[in-house]
């Protein structure tokens, strides 16, 4: 096995290194943004030095050219890598596997299907194998020493022009990486209430904020906060779901969390089947009480 890890930023390198170490595989990196100070075990880092990530049509030919000589081309699952990797696999004629959660053999992988309710084992029949993998459960690699840097293959022609970009987020931790996540559902009523109640608890805990699909669809929370099978997959140490019913597709996105706390006034809400600790209570009373009893942040 020789891996090429495609990373949009240096922040993905520890997990890429961790995956390669767990497989006992050599790996190189193709890094889209920024420069790599350390390699996290990589033999070589090819850098593009892009200030803004190019669109998939531009990046895919570069990934396809860089893929030559590797058995596996891998990337941490995200919307950006799903957009890119399947296109690059299409250019190369590669096998493609999405959202791998377990590596059983160089040609055998386990991945969730049906909104995460079933685990499918798939076999790839050709090489190279392109895949995206879930970061949950992978022990990040240590930074290691400085790494050899090489130039990446050229980008492809621009077929799509980015005419506007809206980046939200602010000062809170990144949802997919956070150690603690507080998620709110439809009962939060409106964007201001959501931010005050869910955002307030999250800030007290140093947590990221998540939202259910129902909350996003009703305009209470922005789309990039959606947690679940069709949104972000999270695996924090502590996941707090407030006013969340616990649909299959939502649970699929949180089930690798170490501890799940549910606060819901409906004692029969399905989320209580998934939660380690459940509190049957009105979130508008319980959350202010939690914040008050935790006291000011140290």
């Amino acid at each position: 096995m020789k891996l090429l890890c495609v990373a949009f930023s240096e922040a993905e390198l520890p997990v890429c290194g961790g995956l390669a170490a767990s497989l006992g595989a050599e790996f190189d990196v193709l890094l889209v943004h920024g420069s790599a100070g350390a390699g996290y075990g990589a033999a070589q880092v090819m850098t593009l030095g892009a200030t803004e990530a190019p669109t998939a049509d531009v990046l895919a030919p570069c990934v396809a050219a860089a893929a030559v000589g590797y058995s596996h081309v891998v990337a941490v699952s995200s919307m950006a890598t799903k957009d890119l990797m399947a296109r690059a696999a299409g250019l190369v004629g590669a096998a493609m596997v999405t959202d791998v959660v377990r590596f059983e053999a160089p040609n055998r992988f386990v991945r969730p299907i049906l909104a995460g309710s079933v685990l499918a084992t798939v076999e790839t029949l050709v090489e190279p194998v392109f895949l995206t993998f879930r970061a949950a459960g992978i022990v990040p690699a240590e930074a290691g020493s400085a790494v050899a840097v090489a130039a990446a293959p050229p980008l492809g022609p621009e077929l799509a022009t980015r005419v506007a970009t809206t980046v939200r987020g602010g000062s809170r931790p990144d949802l997919a990486q956070a150690k603690c996540v507080v998620t709110g559902g439809r009962p939060l009523q409106d964007a201001e209430t959501f931010e005050r109640v869910i955002g307030g608890l999250a800030d007290r805990l140093g947590a990221a904020v998540g939202a259910t699909r129902a909350a996003v669809d009703s305009g209470i929370a922005p789309n990039e906060l959606q947690v679940g099978q069709t949104g972000k997959i999270v695996a924090p140490d502590l996941y707090i779901a407030a006013g969340v019913s616990g649909s299959t597709q939502h649970v699929a996105g949180i089930k690798d969390s170490k501890a799940i706390v549910a606060i819901n006034k409906d004692p029969d809400a399905p989320i209580f089947e998934t939660a380690d600790l459940g509190l049957v209570a009105d979130l508008f009373e319980a959350i202010p009480e939690i914040v008050a009893k935790l006291g000011p942040k140290e």
Binding site: S117, L119, R213, I290
Partner: protein, 245 residues
């Protein structure tokens, strides 16, 4: 403008479906099948474009066994002008479906291929991107808004950190996310009326063979059961004892 909308037949996404005991497939006894919800959004959007611009022509296409006709009839009921079933019982993976759709698209020559970002059974999110790569067309995945122009489209798409807007020349591939629209309700008369619309069947157009094969299905191991706490105090005590707050 011509729009091709690929349609996949999937198990009812709201049904609780379990693997067969031997892991060789899903236990679908008594389970309904539907249009993949993301494809239904794509079909709805194509029909809305046609309602604004009646010169638009929409073609729904599906690949699979004769049972897929049911979902193509639904697509016709939503408002597709024509449906085509590429009939096969061969094993299919994303690469084969992409190859078949590429062959079909090259014949039909649409301005836009508009399809779901993923199917709710396989959750792979690959076919649109593979098609765009094979055709050398621009792509916009995770689309939440599609604005057709003259010889180009503008697509708002969801990203990991927010949204972005891409402008691209046609022909192109656009894959839809959940928030593009709310598909219309189709009453029974609409489905009956759609019976008179053309639905053609044909064989495969390529000899592409799968690169990925499903070998086993297993139910997700359940999380160990949790417990309910009686008060915020008990919750905080428990969280503190586990070092979580």
């Amino acid at each position: 403008m011509k729009i091709v909308v690929p349609i996949k037949r999937v198990v009812d996404p709201y049904a609780k479906v379990k693997p067969l005991a031997d892991g060789t497939g899903l236990d679908v006894a008594g389970v309904k099948f539907e249009i993949n919800p993301f494809d239904e959004i794509a079909m709805e959007e194509a029909v809305r474009i046609k309602e604004r611009d009646p010169s638009t022509y929409t073609v729904a296409v599906s690949i699979g066994g004769p049972e897929c006709e049911e979902q193509l009839r639904k697509a016709l009921a939503i408002g597709a002008d024509e449906a085509v079933l590429i009939e096969t019982t061969d094993g299919l993976d994303a690469s084969v479906i992409a190859a078949e759709l590429v062959a079909f698209v090259q014949e039909v020559a649409p301005d836009i291929v508009l399809m779901g970002k993923q199917s709710t059974d396989d959750d792979s999110n690959q076919v649109g991107q593979m098609m765009a790569a094979m055709l050398g067309w621009p792509q916009a995945t995770f689309a939440c808004k599609l604005t057709p122009g003259v010889g180009e489209v503008t697509v708002d798409r969801e990203t990991d950190s927010g949204e972005e807007s891409l402008r691209m020349k046609t022909p192109c591939v656009v894959t839809t996310d959940l928030r593009m629209n709310q598909p219309r309700y189709i009453a029974l008369p609409g489905i009956i009326k759609a019976r008179s619309k053309p639905l053609a069947k044909r064989g495969r157009g390529t000899s592409a063979s799968p690169r990925v094969r499903l070998t086993h299905l297993a139910a997700l191991p359940p999380r160990p059961p949790g417990r309910k706490v009686a008060s915020v105090d008990e919750l905080l005590t428990e969280l503190k004892s586990r070092g979580l707050v």
